[in-house]
């Protein structure tokens, strides 16, 4: 019998499975897809904006303390102080995986990284390849695009950076330095740069256009499997600090992180069953005995002692809804916090600073991260919930998506498997 089945293979599910497997537990992941990590920037947002404030958060771990006091049901509040340890664990893990992450030079500050439109993006930890982009650094930036690449616009980025007082200029190199394909996306480009010969061509061109003292921003395509080598190699050949700017999905930094974690899970003997849509479950009294998945039309039962729900809310497909205003949790039909009426789901402005109420729909949990009902009673004794499916937060609006994913992924796995922090 398995100790734990994790449902969902986004960052939350991968981290949770890793935490349990590393402690020697028998773990399996059952999942429909790979979650949102490869859609996002690959960095770890902890808290970028305090609810209803337009000013970016300077020191997220400190501001999280205010947040947990003001909102005792927020997932960070339930974590009860384990957030910063979780982040330290993550940094150590990433180091082991050969994909090192770090924070701002001034420990505890948010980084300000240039976004693909040239806005300053507050994030707490970033892959090594993004760090030289920190907008607190004084060196002027040269943003280099590849002519014809549809997901990267260096002139736009440079113009917006300049408008915000960061010196930047734009330049283009030909796309065929890297690929001859007619249908290339960012992942193809990254994997083309795993090839040292292509990197050499790119480095030679970069050397011609950069001016001493500049740091160079490129789209995040600097290698896929050989990323670490690719980055060192390019910086050495060009002789300037180089940083990646994440692009539209598929986002290469997100893909790298997912790949690295899955690789580690394989080493730990954790199976990841993809394409397995969980369509039912069986419970006796308040104990779930098995879940049932549908993979290419073949129903399969999965049994375990415990189940960890990491299906990622509306974005991940863990919460569904219909035109009548019904909103439901798709695996266990757990109670949800949600606006009562479809007329209350949205605000008039897409960019409303208060966000859209429907995106706060989530599974309410007790202090152990076990789903509860309206009276606060535990629904099932052997179910835990983590990540983006949790109630009382809008992690995309707060820019807390990965912070919540990592910290609650670790905390729930520990709680479910009775592990010591």
């Amino acid at each position: 019998m398995l100790d734990l089945i994790v449902i969902g293979a986004g960052l939350t599910g991968l981290i949770a499975a890793h935490t349990a497997a590393r402690a020697g537990k028998q773990v399996k992941i059952v999942t429909k897809g790979l979650g949102a990590t490869h859609w996002h920037a690959g960095s770890i947002d902890v808290l970028g904006y305090y609810p209803n404030s337009a000013t970016p958060v300077q020191r997220p771990l400190e501001t999280v303390r205010d947040l947990t006091r003001a909102r005792p049901q927020h997932p960070y509040a339930i974590l009860d102080g384990t957030l910063s340890d979780a982040l330290k664990n993550f940094v150590a893990l990433a180091q082991e995986l050969g994909l090192p992450y770090a924070g701002a030079a001034n420990d505890g500050d948010n980084l300000w990284l240039p976004s693909p439109v040239g806005a300053a993006r507050p994030t707490f930890l970033a892959p090594r390849a993004q760090l030289a982009g920190d907008l607190r650094r004084p060196e002027p930036m040269l943003i280099v695009g590849l002519r014809g690449m549809r997901d990267f616009y260096p002139e736009l980025i440079a113009e917006n950076l300049n408008k915000q007082g960061h010196r930047a200029r734009a330049a283009f190199l030909p796309l065929d330095l890297i690929t001859e394909r007619h249908d290339s996306n960012t992942v193809h480009l990254a994997s083309a740069l795993d090839d040292p010969a292509r990197r050499m061509k790119l480095a030679a061109e970069l050397k011609k256009i950069f001016q001493p003292g500049e740091r160079i921003g490129l789209p995040a395509i600097l290698g896929l499997d050989a990323h670490a080598v690719a980055l060192d190699d390019l910086q050495a050949q060009v002789g300037a600090p180089i940083f990646e700017i994440p692009t539209l999905p598929p986002s290469v930094p997100g893909v790298r992180l997912t790949n690295a974690l899955r690789h580690r899970l394989r080493q730990l003997g954790v199976r990841v069953e993809i394409n397995a849509d969980v369509i039912g479950f069986h419970a006796e009294k308040d104990r779930v005995l098995w879940i049932e998945s549908d993979a290419s039309g073949r129903p399969l039962k999965h049994r375990a002692e415990k189940f960890l729900l990491a299906t990622g809310g509306i974005l991940g497909g863990g919460i569904n809804s219909d035109h009548t205003g019904k909103v439901w949790e798709v695996v266990f039909n757990l109670p949800l916090t949600t606006p009562h009426d479809r007329g209350e789901w949205f605000r008039a402005r897409f960019f409303d600073p208060a966000g859209h109420p429907i995106f706060r729909a989530g599974v309410p949990v007790n202090r152990e991260f076990q789903p509860v009902d309206a009276n606060g009673g535990r629904v099932y004794e052997n179910i835990w919930a983590a990540g983006n499916i949790l109630a009382h937060t809008d992690p995309i609006l707060e820019r807390s998506l990965e912070g919540i994913a990592i910290a609650t992924g670790m905390a729930t796995a520990r709680s479910a498997c009775n592990l010591k922090p």
Binding site: Y153, L156, G325, L336, F346, R349, F350, A374
Partner: protein, 604 residues
């Protein structure tokens, strides 16, 4: 103030006004058309997409039906490339009256509308998702028509015949001269919206083709025109779940047609009298009604994914009418204000349908000719517009060109197969102030992701073109044909015609001179808001998930809600920001007052 002299001034750049400019120019008149926003901003760009065979009106309104079938035959030739020859079914569902189908069939025969009854089994073979419980099915020559493409092609034909077309030019005041008993309209004062200047236009004849806004325009000359504004709502399914137009075979009512057009299928419509034609509110009951009625034609349709809702307003007219807009006549009405109100030099054209726009233009210009003292006859029925050599539109045309020419990595919008060159050329050659104008030109952002990916790319590309223009590095504006703006292959070659560029000095989002609107941050914000407006009424299920991904992209990845120039606005910003779905929250209300975050129990 700048002054322009012309013979004929046309107000309104919908199907009707553009048709009039075309007709007038072909008859040899000097004609100027002004449209307050982009061409087809009005009802023409918000309609159902059906080229009527007349079947819908045969029993209720035979006169309209006769006009429809006649025009249907003509438009299939003059505007062939704007029409997909889908054919249409009239389906008798178990809900429908048993008498009506025979009346319908007989009336079609009387009006010579080709109509053939086929077996339900044969119909199901062609449209497998159609209600299998249907009792009878009739086939008629309905079609699907792209009003954006048709209006642009008509406008191009008009330009080629010498007409001048100015969009983002709004009539603020008709100019009236003379005293009691001898009043005449001599033109209009017009606001150049992009430049913020007024222009005085003098004309011998002023034609009001402002559709549902006609009353507002006429009022500035002291003339009363009571339009019956009948709002209709439509919903788009994210697929071509059908390839034939499906009509219920019964008296026309709400929600009884589904039209396959381009990549989607559209359920419609409702019909409700409204006050304000500009800011239309889609009511939750309309969405529910369309889903409920849609189920009767295609069981299960309410569980498919919807990508958008929109509403348009019918410019119906009936002198001294007080009833429901559904029952108002679909006939066209030409108001001769000289005989009606004692105001010469001024005509208003109302009513009708998209299908009859050419006829409306003809009737209007026949009357105008009487007053202008020339009797040149109408030739539009025998004249094709540019682009017809492409043949009928068919769903795979873009895909074929993209594949044949290996344009995959050129795609800016994967949903609608819009290439970079299509976008660049349209922005250079059509007056463009917002990305929404480009949507109407090339269908940018009209597919399932509703701008999720292409908004960013389009803003980036326009910015790039603008930077090149500013550096003076602009290549010679491509020789480019408006009628081919939807063709990936044509745009890649960027020239097959010697027609002059269409812009005629009008500002655009890529010309540096209009840099206040050419701001990429503004373009991006405006378009995201515009898409949001049409999404609100149908956001649930998978489309809601898609929207959350778009949030991930624009908030978490881009931080686009914290870009510079937060206060910049375009002439359209206010329009996009107006609430389109009633029952939704006001802006900026406190996060917690909105709903209780207490868990609600679910039955298990």
């Amino acid at each position: 103030m700048k002054r322009i002299e012309t013979e004929i001034l046309v107000i309104g750049g919908g199907a009707t006004g553009t048709g009039i400019a075309w007709d007038a120019a072909l008859r040899g008149f000097r004609v100027l058309l002004v449209e307050k926003r982009d061409l087809t901003h009005g009802t023409t760009g918000r309609y159902h997409g059906l080229l009527h065979s007349g079947g819908r009106y045969v029993v209720k309104d035979p006169h309209s039906a006769a006009e429809c079938i006649a025009e249907n035959r003509i438009l299939r030739k003059t505007h062939m490339h704007c029409i997909e020859d889908t054919g249409g079914f009239f389906v008798v569902t178990p809900e429908d009256d048993n008498e009506y189908p025979d009346q319908f069939y007989a009336a079609c025969a009387r009006l010579e509308i080709p109509c053939e009854e086929i077996s339900v089994a044969a119909a199901l073979k062609r449209e497998p998702l159609m209600n299998p419980e249907a009792r009878r099915v009739f086939v008629v020559p309905d079609g699907a028509a792209d009003s954006f493409q048709a209006t642009h092609s008509t406008a191009q034909a008009a330009r080629q015949a010498g007409a001048q077309i100015l969009n983002y030019h709004e009539v603020v005041q008709l100019l009236v001269e003379g005293g009691e008993g001898d009043r005449r309209v001599v033109g209009a004062r017009v606001r150049d919206v992009a430049r913020g200047e007024d222009v005085e236009i003098r004309a011998r004849m002023t034609i009001n083709a402002a559709g549902a806004w006609s009353g507002v325009v006429a009022k500035t000359a002291g003339v009363r025109v009571d339009v019956i504004p009948g709002k209709g709502t439509m919903l788009a399914v994210n697929h071509r779940i059908i390839n034939t137009v499906l009509n219920r075979c019964k008296m026309p009512d709400d929600g009884d047609i589904i039209v396959p057009i381009h990549t989607v299928s559209v359920l419609g419509t409702t019909d409700e009298r409204v006050e304000d034609p500009e800011h239309l509110t889609i009511e939750p009951w309309e969405v529910e009604l369309l889903l409920r009625e849609g189920e009767k034609l295609i069981p299960g349709v309410s569980r498919t994914r919807f990508v958008r809702a929109w509403a348009g307003v019918r410019p119906l007219y009936q002198e001294h009418y007080n009833g429901a807009s559904r029952d108002a006549t679909r006939d066209l009405t030409l108001l001769d204000h000289k005989t009606r109100d004692g105001v010469a030099g001024f005509l208003t054209i109302l009513g009708g349908k998209w299908t009859t726009f050419r006829l409306m233009a003809q009737v209007t210009m026949d009357k105008a000719c009487e007053y202008l003292g020339t009797c040149k006859s109408c030739v539009t029925a025998q004249t094709v517009v540019p682009g017809v050599e492409q043949g009928h539109y068919w769903l795979g045309h873009r895909l074929r060109e993209v594949e044949e020419h290996h344009l995959q990595s050129e795609l800016v919008c994967e949903c609608e197969l819009v290439t970079r060159a299509m976008l660049e050329n349209a922005a250079r050659n059509n007056p463009t102030l917002t990305l929404d104008d480009l949507r109407r030109d090339v269908r940018l952002g009209m597919g399932p992701c509703q701008g999720g990916f292409c908004t960013y790319r389009a803003a980036g590309i326009l910015h790039q073109v603008k930077s090149q223009n500013e550096k003076g590095k602009s290549e010679e504006p491509a020789r480019w044909e408006v009628a081919y703006m939807q063709s990936p292959a044509h745009n890649q070659r960027s020239a097959i015609s010697d027609q002059p560029s269409a812009v005629g000095g009008q500002p655009s989002a890529v010309s540096g001179q209009q840099s206040q609107f050419a701001n990429p941050n503004l373009l991006l914000r405006d378009f995201l808001q515009e898409r949001w407006k049409g999404l609100l009424p149908i956001l649930w299920g998978r489309q809601l998930k898609q929207e959350r991904l778009d949030e991930l992209i624009y908030l978490a990845l881009m931080n686009a809600d914290h870009l510079p120039d937060e206060n910049a606005t375009s002439p359209m910003s206010e329009f996009y920001a107006r609430i389109a779905f009633s029952g939704q929250l006001s802006a900026n209300s406190d996060q917690h007052s909105a709903f209780s975050e207490e868990p609600i129990s679910r039955e298990r």
